[in-house]
Symmetry: C2
Subunit: 217 residues, 2 copies
DNA sequence: CAGACTCTGTGAAATTTTTCACAATACGGA
DNA sequence: TCCGTATTGTGAAAAATTTCACAGAGTCTG
């Protein structure tokens, strides 16, 4: 039904998408310093990926390059922005206004990515009403209403692990289909909901493993 | 030379390690509520993975289960802690004491993972001397010395993208072999150095992609 | 204590992802 | 304009990862 975009194309690997974001970062950088074109090899070097990987990734979405010359930086930038959906603004809610939640509220990257944090919630009554970075903390009870009223499409969970599933349930029930989960807990959600876990513990533990097994690579 | 641990065993896939961390999280949880055994199927359900995946992952490191009964929670917990190197404490330095850096200093997860934040650095002279969570911010110039004196094995980069490579270079030169990079920049480091990127932009962009291409997958 | 049942460990198959390699194409200089 | 060079796009091969599926081992019930 909406295969149209990728019709006969092969399925895009899961792992390609985050790399597209990397490419976009680089071409954005390049466009700032007024560089006009870049080859897959150079782009690969800048992202620590192989040239073939770069070409293959881009190839899933069309033909953006010019044989013998490489990719036009501005064109590729535009194309990637389109693919990654930067053209339509998205409204984001943060649930949990602790250390992490407030660091996120201050994070400048959101604006760059056409993401607006339009609401923040916390269960702690003493925090309600406080304003962080122009966003007033509200009671978590207001969440379902806010999702609808403010057309929120991404929920960021920044609460302790024990409360994460409950928050996820509320988000799902309210109609949010994308969750960025900072809590160290595996969330249970329906198939149609996309969860991305950002788990510091896991990252650290992975590093510790490589330290412990140093050398095995 | 230190293949000994995994002698004749097949190479452990990169992707297995973060999952081990997930398993450990679950068995730790289970041990708290005094559950004695768990099957691969249950562990899989709790982590949104298949039972086969769980067994295969554990299988790379030995035979921890009992046919017909499952895995002993305490034994598996111990085994995973060993594998992930939680038995030896590691010293960590955070570079960058902005919003993110200070949120990290407050993050309770480090202690749990046998990680000690023993030092924090910032380039901003006005921040030097301030104490966060019992750690005094120092000048970034002190970093090389601190790495040696305090036996720091993990560096966490929490500076703006433009400064990340410079900080990475200092870390590498000082002998740090593990870097957790929060800056949205691709770091260039020697082969023997392990970098883990935690890139919020990339996560968000990936989510946005799935929102934009909602329905496919 | 026997038989039914459960659940692991693991080769082999299937799938996914990455790399290879090269024909086709466009550019740029003479 | 033509030739040499650079670089893409992409099937096909290789590698990595996941899933399948089942023999074998241990558990539990009556």
């Amino acid at each position: 039904m909406n295969q149209d975009k990728q019709q006969n194309k092969k399925k895009v690997p899961e792992s390609t998408i985050p790399r597209l974001s990397l490419y976009l970062r680089e071409v954005t950088e390049l466009s700032k310093v007024n560089i006009k074109t870049i080859s897959s090899a150079e782009l690969g070097e800048r992202t620590n990926l192989s040239d073939a990987q770069v070409r293959k990734d881009l190839g899933y979405f069309g033909q953006f390059g010019v044989s013998g010359a490489g990719y036009s930086v501005v064109d590729l930038k535009k194309a990637l922005e389109k693919i990654l959906g930067r053209d339509n603004k998205l409204n984001v809610a943060i649930i949990g206004a602790g250390h992490l939640g407030s660091a996120l509220l201050a994070y400048p990257g959101f604006k760059k990515h056409a993401l607006d944090i339009v609401a923040a919630f916390d269960a702690d009554k003493t925090k309600i009403g406080i304003e962080f970075e122009g966003v007033k903390i509200r009671s978590i009870e207001d969440l379902p209403m806010a999702v609808n009223k403010q057309n929120i499409s991404i929920g960021i969970i920044a609460v302790p692990a024990g409360e994460a599933q409950g928050v996820a349930d509320i988000l799902v029930k309210s109609g949010v289909e994308c969750i960025l989960n900072f809590a160290p807990a595996s969330l249970n959600v329906p198939e149609n909901v996309k969860v991305k876990d950002v788990d510091l513990s896991r990252e650290l533990e992975t590093l510790a493993y490589y330290l412990a097994n140093n050398g095995d690579r």
